[in-house]
């Protein structure tokens, strides 16, 4: 792979990581990860539990800063700007530009409306009440949830089904118009139909966002992503077009993992 520095990456590259390492106390959990994420593409991160997928995902929007014993080194860029270091992007602004959806749907115990309006409110992203209504409506529409909840916007966000809650969290994430959306096993708590709806949503969101998704489901990675990176013991073993990874991976470890030959 050609050496790419922060200022010479390809035009459609949205984010890069270079030699990203993470320590939890003395334990080295990520051993130097180099990856690129392209605009309007879904990149899937796969690998056995504990290999560092979530740790890496958190590096992309500085969520590891909130974990006391975590130390991050290396470079991460967003549109060629460094996100760590003295000239790094302000973390609050960064987390607005790089949103996150978690494994378990975690709506706030507030109304559906307030859940989605939360980000725009704290970041002051709206002109007036009408504008906020519009932002909330658009986000719910994009999340494919509008028709299911439009008559109950002032009911509790925790009162809808798990699949709807997860799409609500996605609506909440996109309400602040992020550029990148990180998803950590967003479907692991959902049934197959709710999962299919979220996958369909991911495919639609790709038009406007760059998406990085951690998934335990091989089939999900194959279905939703264009690129796949395989992590093992804190390292990226192989990254490539999803089709190539699932038909002809070049590394034995990748093949063993995706075919279920761990043993």
């Amino acid at each position: 792979m050609p050496e790419a520095s922060a200022d010479t990456v390809a035009l459609d590259t949205k984010m890069t990581s270079r030699d990203v390492k993470v320590h939890y106390g003395d334990k080295l959990a990520l051993k130097g990860v180099d990856l690129e994420f392209r605009t309007n593409e879904v990149t899937a991160l796969i690998g056995p539990s504990g290999c560092g997928k979530s740790t890496f995902l958190r590096c992309l929007n500085r969520m590891n800063d909130t974990i006391g014993i975590a130390r991050v080194s290396g470079q991460v860029t967003l549109d060629n700007d460094h996100i760590y270091g003295p000239n790094g992007i302000d973390p609050v602004l960064l987390r607005m530009r790089v949103g996150m959806v978690f494994q378990k749907p975690n709506p706030f115990p507030k109304s559906l409306y307030d859940n989605v309006a939360f980000g725009p409110r704290i970041h002051g992203l709206y002109r007036d009440k009408d504008h906020l209504d519009e932002i909330v409506t658009k986000a719910l529409e994009k999340a494919g949830l509008w028709h299911e909840v439009k008559d109950r916007l002032y009911e509790k966000g925790t009162g809808i089904s798990g699949g709807q809650q997860q799409r609500l969290c996605i609506a909440r994430a996109i309400a602040v118009s992020p550029e990148v959306i990180l998803m950590d096993e967003p479907c692991s708590a959902l049934d197959p139909i709710a999962t299919a709806k979220v996958e369909e949503l991911i495919d639609e969101l790709r038009e406007n966002f760059t998406i990085v998704i951690v998934t335990h489901s091989m089939q999900q990675a194959a279905r939703v992503s264009q690129r796949t990176a395989f992590f093992h013991l804190g390292e990226v073993i192989e990254v490539g077009d999803t089709e190539q990874i699932f038909t002809a991976p070049t590394q034995q470890l990748t093949q063993g993992y995706i075919t279920g030959r761990f043993g």
Partner: protein, 239 residues
């Protein structure tokens, strides 16, 4: 953390893949035997052997049927990927080729019954030589396929040229023979069809060689194997 092994974590998956491989091996063995027997029937003018070949074709069909079902089951229930996927897809395709190979052997046997009612014609010797070459290449290709040995399969594939050359010269030989002695036209026509059957077996063997390459590398062979069978132009006016 678990390590990566040779076997699937789900043992029944391994069992099903093995069942597919065993069925392919059995089918390959049957087709090889059918082709060898049909050539022996030609060479020895042995109608009993020819009849037996014709009556055994159903066994190959049964194998294909089983392999088709097994691949559909594996695709539906296991959603295979990577090398597993390539093996399953190749099994399905190879079974189709092997079934056609056995059909060609049965067709050759059927015509040999008719030939046995007529006096021997000289081009039969060349036909048998070509048949033996194809049978040898087929055995080699099927062994390589079952062992996933791309190198060996490609070596055989490059020899399909010899078959095409033999076929072209046999075609001319048969034509010449018919022109010299029109009483042999009936026998020679049957011979011509048998030669075509055998030449087609060579083509199917080539397909299987290419599949072997796909299994091991994940890539399709995209170089065009040069075709030098010139019989299609025979009799055309050349400037």
């Amino acid at each position: 953390m678990p390590t990566i092994g040779e076997q699937h974590i789900v043992k029944s998956y391994d069992d099903e893949m093995k069942r597919l491989h065993d069925a392919l091996a059995r089918m390959a063995g049957l087709a090889e035997a059918q082709l060898a027997a049909s050539i022996e029937a030609l060479e020895k003018r042995d109608s009993d052997i020819a009849t037996q070949v014709m009556n055994s074709d159903y066994k190959v069909d049964e194998c294909e049927h089983f392999i088709n079902e097994q691949t559909v089951r594996l695709l539906a229930l296991r959603a295979p990927v990577a090398d597993d996927l390539r093996l399953v897809i190749s099994a399905l395709k190879a079974a189709g080729d092997i079934e056609r190979i056995a059909d060609h052997a049965a067709n050759a046997a059927k015509r040999s019954l008719v030939l046995n009612q007529m006096p021997t014609v000289a081009p039969m010797r060349s036909l048998v030589r070509m048949g033996k070459l194809v049978a040898e290449l087929l055995n080699e290709v099927l062994d390589a396929f079952l062992a996933h040995d791309a190198e060996r399969a490609l070596a055989v594939r490059s020899r399909d040229q010899e078959v095409d050359d033999l076929y072209s010269s046999l075609f001319r030989e048969i034509l010449t023979y018919m022109m010299e002695d029109p009483r042999t036209i009936t026998a020679c026509s049957h011979l011509m069809f048998i030669a075509k059957n055998i030449e087609r077996v060579g083509d199917h063997a080539t397909n299987i060689a290419e599949m072997t390459y796909f299994i091991s590398t994940g890539r399709a062979l995209n170089d065009q194997r040069p075709k030098r069978d010139t019989s299609a132009f025979e009799g055309a006016v050349t400037p």
